[in-house]
């Protein structure tokens, strides 16, 4: 702590601010799928971390066994994990929509099964996803340098947010989703098949987790347990954001930025602690999160 302002350096601090955006994009992409699933169906998906893990493993599998180039692995992971989500929704979640605490627990059971299943299939040794040479490099802009791959992550995050926004606010399907979110019964009265909407959003959310997972496999390590380190973060983003898309974007950027700044001034561990405390305090005053979705009270 004696170095609190001892070696304060403007360019380093500015770098920390810019890196915060990158960290924020990682928080956000990890939370995107969860946001959609929670925001629409109110399901707290504890298996979200394992969806991320599955995304990483599907990319690994496609690359290692079938030689698929990395950037094709990303959409493929979307499809594979999306299908897993679809099966899970049809087989389990749809029976639990009116029991929010039970979905939380059932999905925890699913996460145990997925984690152990992957371990049985692939073994518990770490795997590795190769990326083209250029993405192992960094770019330098004045005093600031950042890895090219993080820019890719940032761009993909932005692209996904834009696509989700378009899907939810500019298409017929999106209108149905919003209608179901606000009032399921009224939506049903207008002929919207809410079961189908839930199913599609759940698959979509799972698929997004798959995309995030295949990106994390490059930044980090591919292990059956890798999801658990992201899932608490993802939950915090959703809770702080209130479950809406704009809320998650704000919460992801905010928490990432704060983590980077705290870590700059103190240590990484203490930064985490500070962040948790801040979030608890925030929720004291905004229990529904920053941008809550208005729902009909049932």
């Amino acid at each position: 702590m004696d170095s609190l302002f001892g070696n304060f350096d403007l360019s380093a601090f500015a770098s920390a601010l810019l890196l915060g955006i990158s960290i924020g994009s990682i928080w956000l992409i990890a939370a995107l799928g969860l946001t959609i699933i929670y925001g629409t169906a109110g399901v707290i998906n504890m298996a979200h971390g394992e969806f991320l893990m599955l995304g990483a493993y599907s990319s690994y599998m496609l690359q290692a066994y079938f030689g698929v180039p990395f950037f094709l692995c990303i959409p493929a992971s979307f499809v594979i994990v999306g299908l897993v989500g679809l099966i899970m929704e049809r087989g389990l979640i749809r029976y639990l929509y009116n029991r929010p605490l039970d979905t939380l627990l059932a999905t925890w059971g699913v996460s145990l099964v997925l984690m152990q299943g992957v371990r049985l299939i692939f073994g518990s040794d770490p795997k590795y996803i190769a990326v083209p040479q250029m993405f192992q490099e960094s770019v330098e802009i004045g005093f600031f340098s950042i890895s090219l791959f993080r820019i890719v992550v940032l761009l993909i995050t932005a692209l996904l947010v834009a696509m989700i926004w378009y899907l939810f606010y500019r298409t017929r399907f999106g209108m149905q989703v919003r209608a179901v979110t606000q009032n399921k019964e009224m939506a049903a009265a207008f002929g919207i098949n809410s079961g189908r909407v839930y199913m599609m959003t759940f698959a979509l959310g799972a698929g997004l987790a798959g995309v995030a997972g295949s990106l994390f496999g490059v930044l980090n390590i591919v292990l059956p347990t890798m999801g658990t380190s992201y899932v608490v973060q993802a939950f915090l983003v959703v809770v702080v954001g209130g479950g809406s898309l704009v809320g998650s974007v704000a919460a992801g950027a905010g928490t990432g930025e704060l983590q980077s700044i705290f870590a700059y001034f103190t240590s990484d561990t203490f930064a985490r602690f500070l962040l948790f405390v801040l979030i608890v305090i925030l929720l004291r005053y905004k229990p529904q999160g920053l941008f809550a979705i208005t729902k009909a009270r049932r």
Binding site: Y128, S145, Q259, Y264
Partner: protein
């Protein structure tokens, strides 16, 4: 005064209870539960590593190495004609399970000794049970020291041995300025304290010291600080999955291995394989053993091990070798204990005493001759420095001329000296079971 009253109360309580149900309250003499050996009957030992969960990556390999060593010893006639019979238990990467299973091994399976644990936390979880039952733990990996029990034998490098050569080597070849990065727990912090001693001797300069939460995968804030400090090399004690993320992000964030290599105490063959060689090549590791070590014993060990049913993972690495050697420390120690006391009278405590000074010769130990310190029961060994090559193997770039002595209290001379009987404080007071 206090003690006598306590003793009196205890006796009264025991007497009262003995009337009701004799076996329930009597404080048990723990040795009475210990293992006994009989001539010609198998010798039971415990193997307590995690085969599942987050610790499975290093620990499963240790189990395999141990099984291989036992097969080898048994094929050569066992110990005094008795085969070793391992009780293999999966600790599931859960410290509660470690603690419970250690008790089961001691009390139910009545093993004479247990080989196990990789993290210090799991060691601390099992030690109370080991100490109370005067059992014996072979701990085959590197650790921080600052511990003096009468119930452990360690075959890995202590913090005072591990970086002794590495730091001067790096300072000479790359420059004086260094940045320390470690995982946020006890071993990295202790290792760094030792490293500071060597750094000072080598005339180096410490620019910064950062710790990352265990399991964290976000290294950009730390790398930003490193970039700012601009050291000549990085000294890393980051462990596990974080270590892999660290090396990946190091390269992705534009750091160049030629300009600022990472000198690590952990990043070996397994880690390099997991991260991909493009991220590992060029960095340095200090360890007593490398797969590429050039000596006939090692060549034979690597070939036979990888050819056996235990060699499925395709590498031999320092942890596995330390485990393998510990099996021979056990064999030689037990042979000596049997010769000294007769097989019926051997207890875990006598086995431990007999292991003082046990040597594992060049023909058996793949890392070369090592021996157990007769006072603190850690291992005299030769730390080597290897550089990761483009194919993922390590090339030995420096090897110490002589063995380095283990000293668990090297940086805490005020606390005393670890002796066979306990921690001897400078004022002459002896304390046992210091953990």
């Amino acid at each position: 005064m206090k003690i006598s009253r306590r003793g009196f109360l205890k006796k009264t309580a025991v007497a009262a209870a003995a009337i009701a149900a004799p076996h329930l309250w009597v404080p048990v003499t723990r040795e009475a539960w210990g293992a006994t050996l009989k001539k010609g009957e198998p010798i039971k030992i415990g193997i307590l590593f995690s085969l599942t969960g987050s610790l499975a990556v290093p620990e499963e390999d240790s189990t395999l190495a141990m099984q291989y060593a036992i097969d080898e010893i048994n094929a050569a006639g066992g110990i005094n004609g008795s085969p070793i019979e391992p009780v293999i238990i999966d600790a599931k990467s859960d410290f509660n399970v470690y603690s419970e299973k250690m008790k089961e091994l001691i009390l139910r399976h009545k093993v004479i000794a247990t080989f196990g644990c990789y993290t210090s936390a799991s060691r601390k979880a099992v030690l109370p049970a080991v100490m109370q039952h005067k059992s014996l733990l072979y701990y085959p990996t590197c650790y921080e020291g600052a511990e003096c029990t009468q119930n452990t034998i360690c075959t890995g490098p202590l913090a005072n041995q591990h970086s002794k050569d590495l730091i001067p080597f790096m300072v000479q070849n790359f420059g004086k300025k260094v940045f320390f990065v470690g995982s946020d727990y006890v071993w990295p912090k202790e290792s760094n304290k030792n490293a500071k001693v060597w750094l000072e001797q080598a005339g180096g300069e410490l620019l910064g010291e950062e710790y990352i939460p265990l399991g964290s995968s976000e290294f950009t804030p730390v790398l930003n600080k490193i970039k700012q400090a601009n050291p000549d090399f990085i000294f890393s004690t980051v462990v596990g999955a974080s270590d892999i993320a660290f090396h990946k992000q190091f390269k992705q964030e534009g750091f160049k291995v030629e300009k600022m290599p990472i000198a690590s105490l952990t990043t070996g063959e397994i880690e390099t394989k997991a991260m991909g060689v493009e991220y590992g090549a060029g960095h340095f590791l200090s360890a007593p053993y490398f797969q590429g070590l050039d000596n006939p014993t090692n060549a034979k060990f690597v070939e036979k091990f990888l050819g056996s049913k235990y060699g499925k993972n395709g590498t031999t690495h320092y942890n596995m070798e330390e485990t393998y050697t510990s099996a021979y420390v056990f064999k030689y120690g037990l042979e000596k204990a049997i010769a000294d006391h007769g097989i019926e009278d051997v207890t875990s405590a006598k086995l431990r005493d007999a292991s003082a000074g046990i040597k594992v010769p060049d023909e058996v130990s793949p890392e070369g001759l090592t021996w157990i310190d007769p006072e603190n029961f850690n291992t005299w060994l030769v730390p080597k420095i290897g550089q990761c090559q483009a194919d993922g193997s390590f090339k030995i770039v420096k090897q110490a001329a002589e063995h380095v002595a283990p000293d668990p209290y090297s940086i805490y001379p005020d606390l005393g000296k670890c002796t066979a009987k306990g921690l001897m404080a400078p004022d002459g007071k002896l304390r046992t079971n210091v953990i």
